[in-house]
């Protein structure tokens, strides 16, 4: 029982981190059909910015804020410099965002040095609670909480605000949104920046969870996020949440029971989805 709960919490926590990364990816894709291969680069910049801020200021809250601000700035720069010039050409988009991923990853080594950095959990989130026989690690619970809160906030924005309405309408029919007098490019920029900030937040939360940060983790988590977006259905936010939790749980349980398969399980999940339901399990549109 105790083991089951621990595996469950582990899987949920990992799932939530992947969700933060996948959320931006899926919205950007849904809205503009842009597949951003540099998204993992924003994640790793968030992670390093947070570790650096925490080491400098000693405040975890400032570290998180620093990461989010980094994400916002990088998101703005990426959209203006990298995405806009090749808008409308999928091949160029795929190629250029991957190139930018490379630059972002290498820039990490220039700015923060080539070695991995240790990341610490803040004292008030360290340790664990004991509930009966079950030990709940505080930081993991914290991540799960943040994940649900973020999901709630995004859903609120999508369902209750004008810009959220435009985003949802844009996923369905871009031309019509413009013909009704809405500047879709501006909405896209907003969405892109929000997605970048979420990715950076994911990185910042990931750092103390894994204990170390290194430049290549961007690509590793980027791949996981892609798998999640495919499984959940490109453009679907709830789909991404479900798929992220699924991937997180599958990883956590497989790692314990069938370690040999734990690496392949995500790939197998994705392959099955691609064969039988290429639009994803929870597709936003057909």
């Amino acid at each position: 029982m105790e083991l089951l709960i621990n595996l469950l919490i582990n899987g949920l926590a990992t799932g939530m981190l992947i969700f933060l990364l996948a959320a931006g990816l899926t919205l950007i894709f849904g809205l503009m059909s842009v597949l951003n291969f540099a998204h993992g680069g924003l994640f790793v910049w968030g992670a390093f910015a947070a570790v650096w801020m925490y080491a400098t200021t000693g405040s975890f809250i400032l570290a998180i804020l620093g990461a989010v601000v980094t994400g916002v700035i990088l998101g703005f720069v990426t959209e203006k410099l990298i995405i806009t010039p090749v808008y409308g050409n999928h091949v160029q988009q795929i190629l250029i965002t991957l190139g930018f991923m490379l630059v972002l990853t290498e820039m990490i080594k220039v700015v923060f040095g080539p070695n991995q950095l240790a990341a610490k959990v803040p004292p008030y989130l360290a340790g664990s609670w004991e509930v009966g026989d079950v030990i709940l690690i505080k930081y993991r619970m914290f991540i799960i909480l943040i994940g649900f809160v973020v999901f709630g906030i995004i859903q609120f924005i999508l369902k209750r605000t004008k810009i959220g309405l435009i985003v949802r309408a844009g996923v369905l029919n871009k031309e019509m949104v413009q013909a009704l007098g809405n500047n879709i490019k501006q909405v896209f920029l907003f969405t892109f920046i929000a997605g970048a900030a979420l990715a950076a937040l994911g990185g910042a939360l990931m750092a103390p969870y894994s204990g170390v940060v290194y430049a290549e983790m961007g690509l590793e988590f980027g791949i996981l996020a892609f798998i999640v977006v495919v499984i959940g259905g490109m453009g679907s936010l709830p789909g991404s949440l479900m798929a992220a939790i699924l991937v997180g749980l599958a990883g956590s349980f497989m790692a314990y029971y069938v370690p040999a398969l734990s690496l392949a399980v995500n790939m197998i999940l994705m392959a099955l989805v691609l064969i039988f339901r290429p639009q994803g399990l929870f597709a936003a549109k057909g």
Binding site: F37, Q92, I94, K109, L219, I223, M270
Partner: protein, 335 residues
């Protein structure tokens, strides 16, 4: 037109002859090794160009096939002994494995949008990398293993000539392939897949064939690479290899076959000199950033690379109009 072609042909011939003679007139070991390396990566880059430049498919998992070749050769030679026969056998094994893998990846994703193929190949090659790291009894993981190459390759010159021979053979094969009826279908798939399909071509078949041919030649490059180092580790499966192929193809010029060869030369030479500079100026350790930026600039402003640039300058000088086409052409967006 035929005059231009023969001009091109004679230039290729002169360059090939010069490269053939080079090791006999120069005894620079560094240059022999560097050129060998360039030939091997040129094969890899050309195989990539068949996908990107001629069929319009973006793969981010090309390292997987390179790695398959490298490991096939490394493991076969290490297990059965360093003879020429086993070397040839190992290449054949690499071919078969690469063909099978690329076939299934192709069948699975090529019917979907380009995004899926890029993503699936990225993820799948990630999986291959992890498998190579974890299956230590076979691969010795990241530490890798050394093995003995066939006696005859001890002579750098022989291996140089072999690599050059392979490069020329692959170049001629691919050149014929893309100008065959099959190649024309591939190009029309790139230009407008729906229209090609409506003409009655089963585009999926053609895309899968391109993907298999590209996979097989990437595996050949991997086999040669392993022998050149007499060592294999997981680095042959990493994203860096795919990125190398991408950079060489984009910077050299997509959809030209000559471009990737040129690109391989430029990148390998620059890498060589920049890592030399890095000993004095540590900033050059991050030379890959320079390439990354160059690559981004190329994608935006010079989507046809060095060769495309030369072609348009030549066209301007001779007043001929050059046909602008390729995967980087701005397309009409439809959602």
């Amino acid at each position: 037109m035929s005059k231009v072609l023969s001009l091109n042909k004679s230039i290729y011939l002169i360059i090939a002859l010069a490269l053939l003679i080079f090791p006999f007139v120069s005894d620079s070991r560094t240059w022999t090794i560097l050129l060998t390396q360039i030939f091997i990566f040129a094969i890899l880059a050309m195989s990539y160009d068949l996908l990107l430049g001629y069929t319009g498919i973006v793969s981010f998992g090309h390292a997987m096939f390179f790695g398959i070749g490298a490991y096939s050769t490394g493991i076969v030679l290490d297990t059965f002994g360093p003879t020429l026969l086993f070397f040839v056998l190992s290449i054949a094994i690499g071919f078969i494995l690469a063909a099978v893998v690329s076939f299934f990846v192709g069948i699975l994703t090529l019917r979907l949008k380009s995004h899926y193929f890029a993503m699936l190949t990225l993820a799948l090659s990630g999986l291959f990398l992890v498998a190579a790291e974890k299956w230590r009894s076979l691969t010795f993981g990241n530490d890798g293993f050394t093995f003995r190459a066939p006696e005859i390759f001890q002579d750098r010159l022989v291996f140089y000539l072999l690599s050059l021979g392979c490069l020329i053979a692959v170049f001629i094969f691919l050149k014929r392939f893309v100008s065959s009826p099959m190649g024309h279908v591939l190009i029309s798939v790139r230009e407008n897949e729906n229209r090609t399909a409506s003409l009655g071509f089963k585009t999926l078949h053609y895309k899968v064939i391109a993907s298999v041919v590209a996979g097989v030649f990437a595996s050949l490059a991997g086999s040669l690479y392993a022998v050149s180092l007499r060592f294999v580790n997981t680095s042959v499966m990493t994203m860096d290899i795919t990125l190398d192929a991408l950079l060489m193809t984009i910077i050299g010029g997509v959809g030209t076959l000559v471009g990737p060869i040129l690109g391989a030369g430029v990148i390998e030479l620059a890498q060589h000199y920049l890592s030399g500079l890095a000993r004095d100026y540590p900033i050059f350790e991050r030379w890959i950033i320079l390439f990354g930026i160059l690559y981004i600039v190329a994608v935006i402003f010079f989507p046809r690379g060095i060769v495309g640039g030369i072609q348009s300058i030549y066209a301007r000088l001779t007043g001929k109009k050059v046909k602008v086409a390729g995967p980087m052409k701005k397309s009409v967006v439809k959602s």
